[in-house]
């Protein structure tokens, strides 16, 4: 049976792992390559790295970091932040990343999804999406509007409509990140995650808000997510990947148990 994936997220600033709540009050968590290797050995199923200041600083993703990670982990990993064109995608993939994640860039220029999928294969292109609740149901039938630039800017796009468009353009996977839940450890935003998971045929990843294994169980069972991103709950040392998987296994969620 296909197992549900657990994906640690490493937010990167200047080649250090950082963690904040709603992108504020960031604290230093150490070296990304060391942390990646630790989570790999602890049995995570995949990893994701976001260079969270690259886009704002208009510089490309740290390719040397991508290379260094690729040397130590033997599982797939995605990178995002600082991807502004096909050339950036190509560099990240050739450095050893399995997938490249686009978010604001795709909203600005949706053709990047089509072009990326055509050039590198759909499985390489991940759409990150930051929906926020918007009760204007005439404009936003799903009840959620897509935002960009760390939830700071609204786009006028309906979240489910955008997910469907990205799927038609050939995206391989969609990460649904919730601002309301991000960093709060109060659980994923299940409602919009489920709406998107049920609307598309590509895998959907729940992101933002995980604080305990129960939250992951809810993302998989209630919100139909195929994978779930964890950050604070493991970075803090409160949980290990192994402990999360044990709890999910006990709840009947299929997970990869030996590695």
């Amino acid at each position: 049976m296909l197992t549900r994936r657990i994906i640690p997220c490493l937010d990167i600033i200047k080649r250090r792992v950082t963690k904040g709540v709603k992108f504020q009050n960031n604290v230093d968590l150490g070296d990304p390559v060391e942390l990646a290797e630790r989570y790999y050995r602890e049995g995570c199923d995949e990893l994701v790295f976001y260079d969270i200041t690259a886009s704002a600083e208009r510089r490309p993703i740290d390719i040397q970091m991508v290379r260094d990670v690729a040397r130590v982990v033997r599982i797939p990993f995605a990178v995002g932040g600082g991807i502004s064109c096909l050339e950036d995608m190509s560099r990240a993939l050739l450095a050893g990343a399995e997938k490249v994640s686009v978010n604001s860039l795709a909203v600005q220029n949706p053709a990047i999804i089509t072009d990326g999928a055509r050039a590198f294969g759909a499985q390489c292109v991940v759409l990150g999406m930051d929906p926020v609740a918007n009760p204007d149901c005439a404009r936003f039938p799903s009840g959620y509007e897509v935002t960009v630039r760390g939830f700071r800017e609204r786009t006028g796009r309906d979240a489910v409509a955008w997910a469907r468009e990205a799927e038609e353009r050939g995206v391989g996977e969609i990460v649904v990140n919730s601002v309301d839940a991000d960093g709060t450890r109060q659980g994923y935003q299940l409602d919009i995650t489920r709406r998107i998971a049920d609307a598309v045929r590509v895998p959907v990843v729940a992101s933002g808000g995980a604080g305990c294994p129960r939250h992951l169980r809810d993302a998989f069972v209630e919100a139909h997510a195929d994978a779930a991103i964890v950050a604070g709950m493991i970075h803090s040392g409160e949980y290990t990947i192994g402990r999360i998987k044990q709890a999910l296994d006990a709840d009947g969620v299929p997970v990869r148990k030996s590695w």
């Binding site: 296909l2 790999y40 690729a70 033997r74 450095a95 391989g172 590509v202 895998p203 990869r256 030996s258």
Partner: protein, 223 residues
């Protein structure tokens, strides 16, 4: 019966060629062999592939463009020759799929026909089964093989694919996986040829074990 020349040559030649036919990113295959201390070279040069002690034939993307690229690069006869020579040969993902007769992908693509059978699209009855089949899934071992030494039955491997192999000859199937209502051949093998639908190079420690087994395999299955 092997000539003494060939056997001496084999002992001295440790070169492993990773066939580059513009079908996706080969970095992680190379890095996996680097991690094992096994020298490898990414190449589309027929001379280097012909001279290699063992050959890895990876590939991501679509069967149609993969076959087109192979023909354009003049690699089809080279691959046949390497396989016929008895040298260890490992197909991965799309590299595996195009070893069969035919793939449903790209409106139907005639493939290499080295293994009898077809490659079919997942057609899930349950909409919750997403296509592509992406993530870690178990491989049930059907029969022992030198490349599976040290690997537990039902180990998880990493998959990313929308089409799956259906060998015509059941004896070619080494391991199976269940997804979207289908039980498919996740690993096939015949003589010196082994091919996996999963990404062995991204399958963690278990995948490394399989690659290490390949790097030391002599291409024979009888013990």
């Amino acid at each position: 019966m092997e000539t003494s020349f060939a056997s001496a040559h084999r002992r001295e030649n440790h070169m492993l060629a990773i066939v580059d036919y513009k079908a996706g990113n080969l970095t992680s295959v190379k890095l996996a062999f680097d991690a094992l201390g096994q020298k490898s070279v990414i190449t589309s040069d027929p001379a280097i592939i012909r001279a290699a002690a063992r050959v890895v034939f990876p590939g991501v993307g679509a069967a149609g463009s993969a076959m087109r690229n192979l023909h354009e690069l003049g690699l089809v006869p080279v691959l046949r020759e390497v396989i016929a020579s008895g040298r260890p040969f490992l197909g991965i993902c799309v590299g595996t799929q195009i070893l069969f007769d035919f793939s449903e992908e790209d409106g139907g693509t005639p493939c290499l026909g080295i293994l009898p059978g077809r490659v079919a699209l997942f057609r899930p009855g349950d909409p919750r089964d997403k296509v592509p089949h992406m993530g870690w899934n178990q491989v049930r071992i059907c029969r022992p093989h030198p490349l599976l030494a040290g690997i537990t039955d039902n180990s998880d491997f990493y998959f990313v694919h929308s089409y799956y192999p259906q060998p015509a000859n059941p004896a070619d199937t080494l391991g199976t996986t269940d997804y979207a209502g289908a039980t498919f051949a996740a690993m096939v093998g015949r003589a010196n040829l082994v091919a996996t639908q999963f990404h062995v190079e991204k399958s963690g420690r278990v995948g490394l074990q399989l690659l290490e087994n390949f790097a030391t395999w002599d291409g024979r299955t009888n013990t």
